[in-house]
């Protein structure tokens, strides 16, 4: 009895020592962040978003809607992690109140503004290697295989999630056509949302495509967009509608409440 208690205490102490050695943070951070949606997690080789790895997202087309969906998708992943997030900006169009509604309040995000992709990647690497951040999000136009491999190594070294938002350039070249060392690559496009029985606007939907993953297959989903805590959901089938109404009521409480108020 006392032996077991002592072993447990020793284990707990070892964990704390490990946590201190790792810089005091992230000791209890799970290595994999599941989406919490069975239909998505079971298709992913890691069962979710691997913690110390690079993940990429881009809009499926050059439209503003697709770009904003990719932004929100990455913001939702960062929001579901615990800790500070470094967001490396290349343009000045990010709107912080919108991020707060995706689950990233202003006291969780530090912004760094850079002029060029090279600076963005260097600052991202700095943030990843520091090790006490939850995630580093970078917006780039181009990032080659070498750059993404460096990011992947930095993410592993710092135990930090690296999220790369590839933005469409004016030339119209697909940003995900470039080779990359990322663990997963996602492509997002807005999808028509389900009509409400009354006038108004419901929860947004995205066409979510996993276009590449290490050790797994590609897949497509139509998902309901992030809620206020950054969680995705799969749309309920017609047969499940009655049950889904309850679920979506608590999931999208904020959104529904706003609509009624408007």
């Amino acid at each position: 009895m006392s032996n077991i208690a002592r072993t447990e205490r020793l284990d707990a102490l070892r964990d704390s020592v490990r946590a201190i050695e790792r810089g005091g943070a992230g000791a209890e951070r799970p290595p994999v962040l599941p989406f919490g949606v069975a239909g998505i997690d079971e298709r992913l080789a890691d069962g979710g978003i691997a913690g110390a790895a690079l993940h990429e997202a881009a809009g499926a087309d050059a439209g503003m809607g697709a770009d904003a969906a990719a932004t929100l998708f990455l913001a939702g992943i960062a929001a579901r992690l615990t800790g500070q997030v470094l967001w490396v900006l290349s343009r000045r169009d990010l709107f912080a109140p919108g991020l707060q509604q995706a689950g990233l309040p202003p006291d969780r995000v530090i912004y760094a503004e850079t002029g060029q992709d090279a600076d963005t990647l260097a600052v991202m690497e700095e943030g990843l290697r520091h090790g006490s951040l939850a995630a580093v999000i970078g917006e780039v136009g181009r990032a080659g295989l070498t750059a993404t491999r460096r990011l992947q190594l930095a993410a592993e070294a710092g135990g930090t999630t690296a999220l790369l938002l590839r933005r469409w350039k004016r030339s119209g070249a697909d940003p995900l056509a470039e080779p990359s060392a990322a663990a997963t690559r996602w492509k997002l496009a807005p999808a028509p949302s389900a009509p409400l029985p009354v006038a108004g606007i419901g929860r947004a939907r995205w066409q979510l495509s996993l276009v590449r993953q290490r050790g797994g297959d590609i897949f497509d989903w139509t998902v309901e967009a992030n809620d206020a805590a950054g969680r995705l959901a799969l749309p309920a089938g017609i047969r499940d509608r009655a049950g889904a109404a309850d679920r979506s009521a608590d999931r999208g409480a904020g959104r529904a409440g706003r609509r009624v108020a408007a």
């Binding site: 704390s16 006291d107 503004e113 600052v123 006490s132």
Partner: protein
């Protein structure tokens, strides 16, 4: 301290009484902070200060400085021209005005005068002697022990100090004596320009001076005068015991201090130098590794000095002196005061590549050009969950992209979306926005003008619009959210209204669009439609 004041030759202390504003010739120049400008103008006009003084004294307007005495405003200082017209210090200002209508009246600035005196003391500390103290509102004590010969003797030193003060526009009086009290008395009440008092001769020299010269409080001086004690000599002749009983120990102590019977320590001003460390190298170095090594050594020295003073560095300046006489500068800043050598090295080492070593660097100096108090801080105990320390990351990234390009974004109290956010320091906690209304994740700045909008006025979202040549059919819409202009910023916003709608087009993309105007009243806007943001 006594021995130091007396010095080896018995002559230690010089008192400089700088009386700002009063010129020997009678011209009033200026006091305090304005002094520099006025003197410069006078010197520009004529070849020398004396000539200028002679000229200005012809046309001098009587000038007084006023001070507050309780509820009364009285004359604090009067220039010789004013005194010649009968104005006395302590007289009510209104009375002085009545006597001399063309009087120049200004407020006294005791704080400014004290600051200037302190600066003068610091200057004396750097240039003349290691011991300088501010004696009172208008005087300095300069400890001359062992340094007079460096300035060519006491007499030449006094002339130099007087010339220096004259160049600054101060009229100064100076005296050298063996005790601080005697020097103080002689400067203010002694007769000729620069009395040099031999040590031991204090009693004779001070005897004819009034008792006010002894720095005793005015009430005691009044009572002594009522007893017929007018001069210091009278006081010396009095029996000590009754004096002590009647006037307390202060009068006797001041007398003894002036005569050198008891010690009077002076508290010298201390110049706060910038913490720095400097290393001269035996052989010139040029490689990045060697420079990094020296930076480490310099920082180890610097943090010891910072720790001794209880400071943390905010800005560092590394100066590399090359063998050809050129100097290379590297600068780094920290977000919080810091004296961790490893942290500071991480900020400086990445900048080595900007140093051009030329034929080699033979000396390096590191200076904490800005530092702030930094006490001891508690580190967390085992088992406690501490917020991660982002200081190092913030400093590193700020050093790479620039301090102003690393920030948080916090809320500003404004309903107008583009004004509702502002940048804040990366380590400060920013304010959050009220979560009541949907906000897009990308904001277009400036808003994009929409064409061919089909909408039912006044309250409905548009059915169709075209943006940058693309036609969007609206499937769902929500709104309006009405935002009023901020009339306190611009007159043009007094009636302005924007009605915001969230719309989803046929592809599912969601936009944040607004209409200028409320759809009814033309004064509220021109009914043009704009896209302001994108949700998804």
């Amino acid at each position: 301290m006594d021995a130091r004041i007396r010095g080896k030759d018995g002559r230690g202390v010089t008192a400089v009484v700088a009386r700002p504003g009063y010129d020997r010739e009678g011209a009033f120049w200026q006091t305090g902070r304005e002094l520099g400008g006025i003197v410069k103008r006078v010197v520009d006009r004529s070849s020398g200060i004396a000539a200028a003084a002679a000229r200005t004294s012809d046309v001098a307007i009587p000038l007084i400085l006023t001070v507050r005495d309780g509820t009364r405003v009285v004359v604090g200082h009067a220039c010789p021209a004013a005194r010649a017209l009968g104005i006395r210090v302590g007289m009510a200002t209104t009375m002085a005005r009545a006597m001399v209508p063309a009087l120049d009246v200004r407020d006294a600035d005791p704080g400014g005068v004290a600051a200037d005196l302190h600066r003068l003391a610091l200057f004396a500390l750097r240039r003349w002697t290691p011991g300088v103290a501010v004696s009172d509102a208008d005087g300095l004590w300069i400890d001359l022990s062992g340094v007079a010969h460096l300035h060519g003797g006491e007499a030449r030193f006094c002339r130099r100090v007087l010339r220096f003060c004259a160049r600054l526009g101060f009229t100064a009086r100076i005296a050298v004596a063996g005790t601080a009290g005697a020097a103080h008395a002689l400067t203010r009440f002694g007769g000729h320009a620069a009395p040099m008092l031999e040590s031991g001769a204090e009693a004779e020299a001070l005897a004819p001076l009034p008792i006010d010269a002894l720095r005793i409080d005015p009430a005691a001086a009044d009572r002594l005068r009522r007893l017929g004690v007018e001069t210091v000599g009278d006081l010396i002749a009095m029996p000590r015991a009754p004096l002590n009983r009647r006037f307390g120990a202060t009068v006797l102590r001041r007398l003894d201090q002036a005569l050198g019977r008891v010690a009077e320590p002076i508290v010298p001003v201390v110049a706060q130098a910038v913490p720095f460390a400097r290393l001269r190298l035996v052989e010139p170095i040029a490689t990045a590794d060697a420079i990094a090594q020296v930076i480490g050594d310099l920082l180890a020295l610097l943090v010891v000095e910072l720790a001794a003073r209880g400071l943390g560095a905010r800005r560092l300046e590394l100066r590399c002196e090359r063998v050809d006489g050129q100097a290379q500068m590297v600068r780094a800043g920290t977000a919080r005061p810091n004296r961790d050598a490893a942290h500071l090295a991480r900020l400086l080492v990445p900048k080595i590549e900007t140093i051009d070593p030329g034929f080699g660097i033979d000396a390096m100096t590191i200076r904490a050009v800005a530092s702030e108090p930094l006490g001891a801080t508690a580190i967390t105990t085992i088992g406690e969950d501490a917020a991660p320390d982002l200081t190092i990351l913030v400093d590193l990234v700020a050093g790479r992209v620039g301090t102003h390009r690393l920030f948080r974004i916090g809320a500003v109290e404004s309903d107008v979306p583009e004004r509702a956010h502002a940048r804040a320091a990366p380590l400060s906690p920013p304010a959050a926005w009220p979560a009541a209304w949907p906000r897009p994740v990308r904001l277009l700045d400036p808003p994009q003008r929409l064409d061919h909008v089909t909408a039912l006025l006044p309250d409905h979202a548009p059915r169709r619009f075209s943006c940058r040549g693309h036609v969007h059919d609206v499937a769902h819409g929500d709104g309006p959210e009405r935002i009023y202009g901020e009339w306190w910023r611009r007159a043009g916003e007094a009636d302005a209204v924007r009605d915001y709608f969230q719309v989803e087009d046929a592809s599912g993309a969601r936009y944040w669009i607004f209409r200028r105007g409320d759809g009814v009243d033309g004064r509220t806007g021109d009914m043009s439609w704009h896209m302001h943001g994108v949700f998804a």
